[in-house]
């Protein structure tokens, strides 16, 4: 289905506001992404290109750049999250359960929500059988954790016109790939409707650090600018702020301090809470239904 068939255009202006529980005006949605970069393929992102600039396989330098995130960066981020009492949504390639089981186990032991992020870090367009990969990803994570994921992120947020239908069939209740609104929206599929939670890819460490090459402290600068406006607007209607972290980027020594102070400063405001995707979804399923019925 064409995206417009799944969701009609709706301006936020004039839309009835949703209501968060008493005392809450802005919800921060921390997202921590865990990936598997297969050495047999080009690496998902590159921090350094080979001499003369031509892509080379195997790409050992960038593979090890990512691997650092799983060996060291993740554990550093976990300490920060625990210190600030934040339970992020962990979106993971299902294959991470096979290659880095101790990392996934640490997430489960911390009570963090697991969200499916395909099997490994390959665009959905490149899969021979999208439906099978979606089912397999959901099954592996369910088997490993004892709980079927409720949410999904496409690798690199990629989707084809069919992806949402397969996701709904596989039991996915919410996605983060649609960055088109400040509020959750309900989108049609050929199966059951899915909720798109208000994600964004500007407050996102890959976009800011690996693609736009900002200085490390811009992690904090842009996030606080973003927060200031949403917080002011949240006096009139609830606002949501997703923040996306990858261990190989946000878990490195020169950025972790900026990550920590960003979360600490934002969460020190009255009426600001950190919820995972599952909790935002549960709230929206009740509140959104009430609004739309009104």
């Amino acid at each position: 289905m064409h995206p417009r068939e799944r969701l009609p255009y709706s301006p936020i202006e004039g839309r009835a506001p949703l209501r968060l529980p008493k005392g809450v005006r802005l919800v921060v949605w921390p997202v921590l992404a865990l990936e598997e970069w297969d050495m047999g393929r080009p690496m998902a992102r590159m921090v350094i290109s080979p001499p003369q600039g031509q892509p080379m396989l195997p790409d050992h330098p960038n593979w090890s750049w990512h691997e650092y995130g799983m060996r060291v960066g993740f554990w550093r981020l976990r300490k920060v999250m625990q210190k600030l009492n934040i339970n992020p949504t962990v979106t993971l390639n299902a294959r991470v359960c096979e290659t880095y089981p101790s990392v996934v186990k640490a997430c489960i032991d911390s009570g963090w929500e697991l969200n499916a992020h395909s099997y490994d870090q390959v665009p959905m367009h490149k899969l021979d059988d999208e439906r099978a990969v979606i089912d397999k990803s959901m099954d592996i994570i369910e088997k490993f954790s004892g709980k079927r994921p409720r949410g999904w992120f496409g690798p690199g947020l990629t989707q084809t016109f069919d992806t949402l239908d397969y996701l709904s069939e596989a039991g996915v209740e919410y996605i983060g790939d649609w960055v088109l609104d400040d509020e959750p929206v309900t989108i049609e599929t050929r199966h059951k409707p899915i909720v798109a939670l208000p994600y964004n890819f500007e407050i996102h460490d890959i976009v800011m650090m690996a693609l736009q090459n900002h200085p490390s402290d811009e992690w904090h600068g842009r996030a606080l600018d973003h927060f200031d406006v949403l917080y002011a607007e949240s006096a009139e209607r609830p606002k949501f702020m997703a923040i996306a972290c990858h261990p190989y980027l946000s878990g490195v020594p020169h950025r972790i301090g900026h990550v920590e102070r960003t979360f600490a400063e934002i969460l020190s405001h009255d009426g600001v809470v950190a919820w995972d995707g599952s909790k935002i979804l549960d709230w929206y399923l009740t509140e959104g239904r009430m609004r739309d019925a009104a």
Binding site: P3, P11, V179, L211, N213, H226, E233
Partner: protein, 298 residues
């Protein structure tokens, strides 16, 4: 058929130091020209801009994520713009794909009712070189906007400022009076077309959030710094001759929460100065045809 004119045939070289100064009315010395861009990104095509290429960087279609990125500007970001310009009492130029009148009538109506100037900006977002019937597309764009606004647009901006050699002739034939695509002067100029003279207004590709934020990846506050620097110099020079400071913005970029306050601060800064007019393109054109006595005014 004669081959179309190259730009030099349309406009002789002219040094600004050799030209008599233009004079704005009263004590005004500089015009601040705001251009807001509202577009339609068709999901059936590659998206106009990309923030997050797919893993391994290969372009893939459909590109739902960037469709959503742009759609945010129309669902949320543009309302931050409407509120700002209402508060400031500014009626900017709206460079809009004509298709917004069909796909986003709520947004187009808001701009029309707020008195914004509608400027032709192609039917939808894609380089004009790729149009199979450029004249047809231009006329259709102008007709749709005329029907929607009750008034034919006076100005035109190519999508991504693109033009082929024929474009100025086709625009003049469609009734366009001024264009913004020639960023080659600090002042309006008159260029030749096969259908009479056409005015170019001093538009900018630098004080524009697409290059600054999406292509050059500057920090959120950098557009403010850039425009302040641009304005300071033009303002100093405007003691001697009329100057124009132009700003082009898009709701999916400058309408993002982390950037909007810097856009607001641009106006706070500019408005602290004496002799600043907030005119849109049509107002600049109307003034210019008076002082330059150009036939394009006829």
């Amino acid at each position: 058929m004669a081959s179309p004119m190259i730009p030099r045939e349309r406009s002789d070289y002219s040094a600004i130091v050799d030209r008599p100064p233009l004079k704005l009315p009263g004590n005004a010395r500089i015009v601040f020209w705001t251009i807001v861009n509202y577009e339609v990104w068709d999901i059936g095509k590659p998206m106009a801009r990309q923030l997050l290429p797919a893993p391994t960087g290969v372009p893939l279609m459909p590109d739902v994520v960037h469709w959503g990125f742009h759609e945010y500007g129309m669902r949320v970001g543009c309302w931050r713009f409407f509120e700002l310009y209402k508060k400031l009492g500014i009626k900017p130029t709206l460079a809009a794909n004509a298709r917004i009148c069909e796909d986003y009538p709520r947004v187009a109506k808001e701009a029309r009712d707020a008195g914004w100037e509608f400027m032709g900006h192609a039917y939808e977002q894609g380089p004009i070189h790729k149009e199979t019937d450029q004249a047809g597309m231009i006329n259709r764009t102008m007709d749709i906007m005329e029907k929607f606004c009750g008034k034919r647009p006076v100005g035109w901006l190519g999508p991504g400022l693109t033009q082929t050699l024929e474009t100025p002739d086709l625009l003049a034939a469609a009734g366009v009076k001024y264009i913004g695509d020639w960023v080659y002067d600090d002042e309006p100029t008159v260029i030749k077309t096969t259908r009479g003279p056409l005015v170019t207004l001093p538009y900018t590709i630098e004080c524009n959030d697409i290059p600054v934020m999406i292509i050059q990846h500057h920090n959120s506050d950098y557009l403010l710094k850039l425009v302040m620097d641009q304005f300071d110099r033009l303002y100093a020079e405007s003691a001697k001759r009329a100057k124009f400071c132009t700003l082009a913005i898009h709701p999916y970029i400058s309408g993002q929460p982390h950037r909007i306050k810097y856009l607001e601060q641009i106006y706070d800064y500019v408005n602290r100065h004496e002799g600043v007019l907030h005119w849109n393109g049509e107002q600049i054109f109307d003034w210019y045809r008076g002082v330059a006595k150009t036939e394009a005014a006829a």
